[in-house]
């Protein structure tokens, strides 16, 4: 039993009762928040796991093609071919609020003149495997972007869930029991004071009655004597 160090008065009792009500309500809300965060977190983790596997397979495929290309074409030729990209992307970041956590949402803006004309080199000096590798990468790009978004979401949700869980536990196992113990302590203390008071009053009354009886006896004796 752990009691908060307060003076056992009626005012403190009312205050602590109010605090207990707030803590109980807060505990319920935080618990709901934790459950919902957890649900979303687990859904996202499952999706991301599949997404990552898919992206890893695709990138490995692109790397394989690239390795083939670099075994046929000179390294310098590849470097020259990729030196000045035609495509340019810029990333727009907006925020999405998930249970009070601001999750970034990524959206790309491509600055390409034409979709068919995205390669920055002619076909003459490079191997077809390079085109293949780049086309696989460009197919995977949307998934890569989604992966970046989801992984960030998972990291941020994990931190938030940990925080919320700590808060819920602190409320459930420390604050609420402390308040309950303190309320019981103050109630008992007040009851004890009340009983003490009643006993004292009874005692005083007894003494007064005794005195009156004594006085009456003496009066009677004087009258008869």
């Amino acid at each position: 039993m752990s009691v908060i160090n307060v003076s056992p008065t009626r005012m403190e009792l009312t205050k602590i009762k109010k605090r207990l009500a707030v803590a109980t309500k807060g505990h319920k809300l935080l618990k709901d928040k934790r459950d919902e965060l957890m649900r979303r977190f687990l859904d996202t983790v499952r999706e991301t796991k599949d997404l990552r596997e898919r992206v890893e397979v695709k990138i490995a495929e692109a790397n394989r093609s690239f390795a083939l290309a670099s075994s046929i074409t000179q390294r310098e030729a590849i470097a020259t071919a990729l030196m000045l990209p035609k495509q340019k992307v810029s990333l727009n970041i907006s925020a999405k609020n998930v249970m009070g956590v601001n999750i970034p949402v990524f959206d790309i803006e491509e600055k390409t003149r034409s979709k068919d004309d995205s390669l920055s080199y002619g076909y003459a000096f490079t191997s077809g495997d390079l085109d293949n590798s780049i086309s696989i990468l460009s197919e995977t790009f949307s998934d890569l972007l989604l992966l970046a978004e989801k992984e960030k979401m998972i990291q941020m949700l994990a931190v938030e869930i940990e925080k919320t869980r700590r808060r819920v536990n602190a409320l459930e196992y420390v604050m609420i029991p402390n308040y309950q113990d303190t309320i019981r302590y103050i109630t008992m203390k007040l009851g004890e004071n009340e009983r003490g008071n009643i006993t004292r009053l009874m005692k005083v009354k007894d003494m007064m009655v005794e005195k009156q009886i004594e006085a009456r006896k003496r009066q009677n004796e004087a009258l008869s004597g």
């Binding site: 690239f66 970041i93 907006s94 999405k96 990524f106 491509e110 972007l145 970046a148 978004e149």
Partner: protein, 118 residues
């Protein structure tokens, strides 16, 4: 054409960077991403810091470097940006990306309930 976003959203523009050995990342330059080849881990660490300070939104980094720069990446985990994502290098997948997911699940749930079968 400007897109319509929900009210109250903060929208800003930034770039995407890729760090790794040249052979693993040069294909990304054709997609319009900024590539930063790093020969060794010191270079990669330097590039990572410089990209973060220049406000890159997404940083793709090869798994091998990510594994060695885990401590540095840890700093940016709670921040909204950058999102640092491990990608396999040309030597193959070594499972750093999954290990990171696993770590997050352990942090949130207390024990790993998603990847335990693998």
């Amino acid at each position: 054409m400007p897109k319509h976003y929900a009210e109250g959203c903060v929208i800003y523009m930034c770039s995407i960077g890729v760090i790794g050995d040249y052979d693993s990342i040069c294909g990304f330059s054709a997609l319009g991403l900024d590539i930063f080849p790093a020969e060794n881990i010191e270079d990669a660490g330097r590039e990572l810091k410089s990209l973060v300070s220049r406000g890159y939104g997404i940083i793709y980094i090869t798994e091998i470097y990510m594994q060695q720069l885990a401590l540095e990446c840890e700093h940016y985990r709670e921040a909204q940006t950058p999102s640092i994502v491990p990608i396999p290098s040309c030597t193959g997948v070594i499972g750093v990306g999954k290990a990171l997911l696993k770590k997050c699940v352990e942090q949130a749930v207390g024990s790993d309930i998603i990847f335990k079968d693998n």
